[in-house]
Amino acid sequence: MTEPSKDPGLTEVPTVAHRSRLRTTVETVLRNRLAVVGLVILGVLIVTAIFAPLIAPHGINEVDIANRLSGPSTDHWFGTDDVGRDVFSRVVVASRVSLQVGLISVGIALALGVPVGLLSGFYGGKLDSVLMRLMDILFSVPAIVLAIAIVAALGPNLVNAMIAIGIVYTPIFARITRGSVLSLRDAVFIRAVRSLGASDARILIGHILPNVIAPIIVQTSLSLAFAILAEAALSFLGLGVQPPNPAWGRMLSDGRGFFQQAPWMAIFPGLAIFVTVFAFNAVGDGLRDALDPQQRSVIEARGVGE
């Protein structure tokens, strides 16, 4: 092997060589059409959530009894519900709840699961056994049943629903993190850093975490979708957002009784859930492909061919 600096033929093309990991990742994601669609939808959703009160043409609890159960029209785009409230306005405002629940509950799951996985994978032994058995217990109970139990114990409201969903998804993050840490714990470069005098905390945060972040990011985007579904399910069961505040799951459940006369009451919130979950999944898939080095080279090779 000759030294590349002295042999220009062997050095990588400088434009490739000096690209940062972040930039390469972003570029690879943008090459995935489905992920781009997902990103656009998410962008629209976020804007909608932020400016919901300005976008909604009617108040969420503005009752128009005369026009109850009327179909989509220019005045009520998504129709009205059984007490004459504008479905479009409610769907728009409910996007806030869904995104908020998604972000906060996944945030809770991340904040609990990632440290558990890091410590468990890094130290192994008894700590690992105890922590992972705890996670297994959480994992063995069907997620929605566990969430229902937690909400039942804490009382039905939005905050408790978020805590419940966060706890339910904690073991997923713990497991993913632990698995990746295990494969790194005995890596030569970790031994090398230790031989340079780094402390455990420094090794964990500075060296191991950045190496396991890719699967965590992917899982985050996928979990956001599941969390939104879980919130919809909890609200559907009356355990999440309490009336008269709107939530997609709640609206779906309310619309069920009127499905024959007014299908729009259930279809539009259902569609909102579907589109949001789809968007998060598409972005998650795109990220996974971009962050998995083997996949990445396949995608980059494809890009070169085009």
Binding site: M1, P4, S5, L10, A17, R21, F189, L196, G197, N211
Partner: protein
């Protein structure tokens, strides 16, 4: 041996708890190394050479590892230092270079960040000062346009270049002892020669003691002042490099040297291999660990473990016999 020893290892023993019992991997290793001196530890894989150096730095997970003995450095026993104390030694006073340059760098951090790490840890350098020093270090190990390369990732370097980076990290705090664990084994011969030269050069400049762990006797001949030959976790022979190569007092040393290819020798002739395999640490022979493979072994070799003898002032050997009794 020159001057006072910087590091003296006495009766170092390392064993691992396994399902089948305690496996002794290093059994009573003793050596000293002085400032500016190069000590080579030679042995086959499994002879305990890497484990012994990891043990010095408390880098082995305990359990399953059990380490006893003494490693005196600056008047303190490295093996019993508390974690915060040993951390101040690692990378600062004693540094290590690992075998595989492809895996001894963190793939997601830039070279610069990784070089700055020991500087931050031990010298309190941060920001531009640290960056400046990192660039100097890269320059010192012969990486061209060092400053621009600080922001590159490990995968943008070739194997030889990466090993230079690893060496730069090793010497960044100007350690008193540098342990090179098969530091050039993964490299091709020309790169290997350059890296060895580089390390020797740095040793002269910084006056480090160098512990060179290898299985390659060719490298040993080129770098070492003193050689320790390990087999089954025990010292078989220890001598200044010339004495060792000339006298080959131990049959194992003789076997190792005989198995080297000699330029010009009839190519159709097979290399002289030592028959058999290194011993399983769980089933070490009762007598001399090398006895099952030794062509000269007699009853006493199988029953009694030979002690380390010093037939010459600077030459130790663990064999029941003198060379003139064996090689007629």
């Amino acid at each position: 041996m020159t001057g006072q020893p910087v590091l003296s290892v006495n009766n170092l023993r390392v064993s691992f708890a396994t399902r089948d019992g305690l496996a002794p991997v290093v059994n009573g290793l003793t050596y000293q190394v002085a400032q500016g001196e190069t000590l080579a530890i030679v042995g086959e894989s499994g002879s305990g050479k890497s484990v012994s150096s990891m043990a010095l730095m408390q880098l082995l997970p305990t359990p399953p590892a059990r380490v006893t003995g003494e490693a005196l450095f600056e008047g303190r026993n490295l093996l019993t230092l508390e974690e915060p104390e040993i951390r101040k030694v690692r990378g600062n006073k004693i540094a290590m270079i690992f075998q595989d340059p492809m895996t001894s760098l963190n793939p997601v951090r830039t070279i610069g960040k990784q070089l700055i790490e020991p500087l931050e840890l031990h010298m309190g350098l941060t920001g531009n000062a640290a960056r400046e020093r990192a660039a100097e270090l890269l320059d010192a190990v012969g990486i061209p346009s060092a400053r621009e390369r600080l922001d590159d990732y490990p995968h943008q370097f070739s194997g030889g270049m990466r090993q230079r980076v690893v060496i730069a990290m090793g010497i960044s705090c100007e350690p008193d002892v540098l342990i090179a664990d098969e530091a050039t084994t993964a490299l091709d011969v020309t790169t290997q020669a350059k890296i060895i030269e580089e390390i020797k050069d740095l040793q002269d400049r910084l006056g480090m003691a160098l512990i060179w762990i290898t299985h390659d006797l060719g490298v040993v001949a080129g770098v070492a002042d003193t050689v320790v030959v390990l087999y089954g976790g025990r010292i078989m022979e220890q001598a200044p490099v010339d004495g060792l190569f000339d006298q080959r007092r131990h049959p194992y040393t003789r076997g190792l040297l005989a198995s080297l290819p000699v330029p010009g020798r009839n190519r159709s002739k097979k290399l002289n291999a030592i028959p058999g395999l290194p011993p399983d640490p769980l089933r070490l022979p009762a007598g001399c660990p090398f006895s099952p493979r030794c062509v000269h072994a007699v009853e006493v070799c199988r029953s009694d473990r030979p002690d380390v003898r010093w037939p010459l002032d600077d030459h130790a050997v663990a064999c029941h016999f003198d060379p003139d009794e064996l090689y007629v």
